[in-house]
Symmetry: C2
Subunit: 272 residues, 2 copies
């Protein structure tokens, strides 16, 4: 067990294990977005940094089929920051909040060595989508295309430039597809650590393995920060799910089915 | 306006302005506790760091007369951390959570250069205590003793040692007094930035000044991180409030009354 998982294993709440914690109809989620851990400040404008910090957090809410309502920000400001940059940062937070109907209700700002952000999202759902509920024989699918995020990160690490519409900067969420298809989906999560690593989580929770119907390269399966959706559903809902995907213009790739087999994640760990 | 306040002023939610954001009967609060900003790792054990991070966050809930229910942790781990230290850290979070009946329901852990913690607390209240509602002629009081925190911080900065029961390490909250006296208190907040700075906030919100009935030295009024309570109440409740303070063994110092006068904070700003 890596140290990160060891730390998490110390906490035993029944609410831990999904993209957010479900309590009655509320979902609580919280993710960090830290300079030199998740981004370098040369890579993105302050506006883009704030927007992405919001989007990766909203992704957890959307992944549970919840509607984000409130956000709390914690922002540690680097000493170099100017008033103009701070305004840009605030605009990034606010524009995404406005787009999703989120009220930014509080938080904390401090002065620190670098720009480190954590965001808490309070969201609401009547039909939560959890990581559990996968039975053997269910179909497994992901939305959109995978692999671009890892490629673009590599470019940035090699001092290259990426398009401002790159998924690494400008995340698209699949909230329309999820709310359209909610009746037919059994299980879901967002692809933040990478398809293969996130399948590993579904495998542990549901005690199933996966039989792939197509070969997926490591460059695709090990690409993290994709923020596409990974979903599972009963095969008798296949047509209905595909129809809802089409209606919401969401490419949907059914790439595996759940089986009684051990799943082995072949990606190297990102953390620690 | 300093840069921190400028940033906060960019957000206009009606829920911003108290120690936490009140939405129906829920209170949401979030505070950062960062290495080299709020503590140095030589000053405290990992257990003490985690406990204090929890306590300063619970203080916001208690200050609003709310009962903390859930916590989300975001912990950035330094590369030097060992498994043993991580366990100590987890114990610090858990022991305080257990003491206050809080369920730690999620969060995020990352690998970073230093130990930076943010905590979100979800709490519940039937009778919230806000910063507003002070009328002219109300009595203003603080609990406990002030000044020790600043003195102890100075000792630590000069490489001295402090007692492990020092308020700088081991915070006592005034939840018993607050729940006992809730009927009689009009307004309240915790003293985190220092008495004089926190009076400044009450002054802005309520458009009142304060007439002191006793001289308070800067070494006391400008001492931050005290986590005592600052409260206001109608003078006809004076006896009742003092009785409840006594019942809960809480020293209560009535030091001023609110007046139609401008208030001037004589402390230097801590931030930025």
């Amino acid at each position: 067990m890596n140290l990160e998982n060891y730390f998490i294993s110390q906490f035993k709440s029944e609410h831990i294990g999904d993209d957010g914690a479900l309590i009655k109809q509320n979902v609580y989620s919280k993710d960090a977005f830290f300079e030199n851990v998740h981004f370098k400040h040369e890579w993105m404008s302050y506006y883009q940094i704030a927007s992405k910090a919001m989007m990766i957090n909203i992704s957890d809410a959307v992944a549970m089929n919840a509607k984000p309502k409130y956000a709390l920000l914690s922002v540690s400001m680097p000493p170099r920051i100017t008033k103009k940059q701070m305004k840009e940062l605030a605009s990034g937070f606010k524009d995404v909040a406005d787009k999703y109907g989120i009220d930014i209700i509080g938080g904390d700002t401090i002065s620190n060595v670098k720009l480190d952000i954590t965001i808490t999202i309070v969201s609401q759902t009547k039909k939560p989508l959890l990581r559990s509920n996968i039975k053997k024989g269910y179909l497994i699918a992901f939305t959109g295309e995978l692999g671009r995020s890892k490629k673009d990160l590599k470019k940035l690490m090699n001092l290259g430039k990426i398009h401002k519409k790159s998924k690494f900067i400008d995340i698209k969420l699949r909230d329309k597809f999820l709310s359209n298809a909610e009746r037919f989906l059994s299980s879901g999560m967002d692809i933040s650590d990478g398809l293969f690593s996130d399948l590993d989580k579904l495998s542990s929770v549901n005690r199933v393995g996966f039989k792939f119907n197509t070969k997926i390269l490591k460059s695709i399966g090990c690409s993290g920060e994709e923020y596409e959706m990974l979903v599972a559903f009963d095969k008798r809902h296949k047509k209905a799910v595909l129809r809802r995907a089409k209606q919401s213009r969401t490419p949907l790739n059914i790439f595996a089915k759940s089986v009684r087999k051990r799943y082995v994640n072949c990606c190297k760990a990102n953390h620690f």
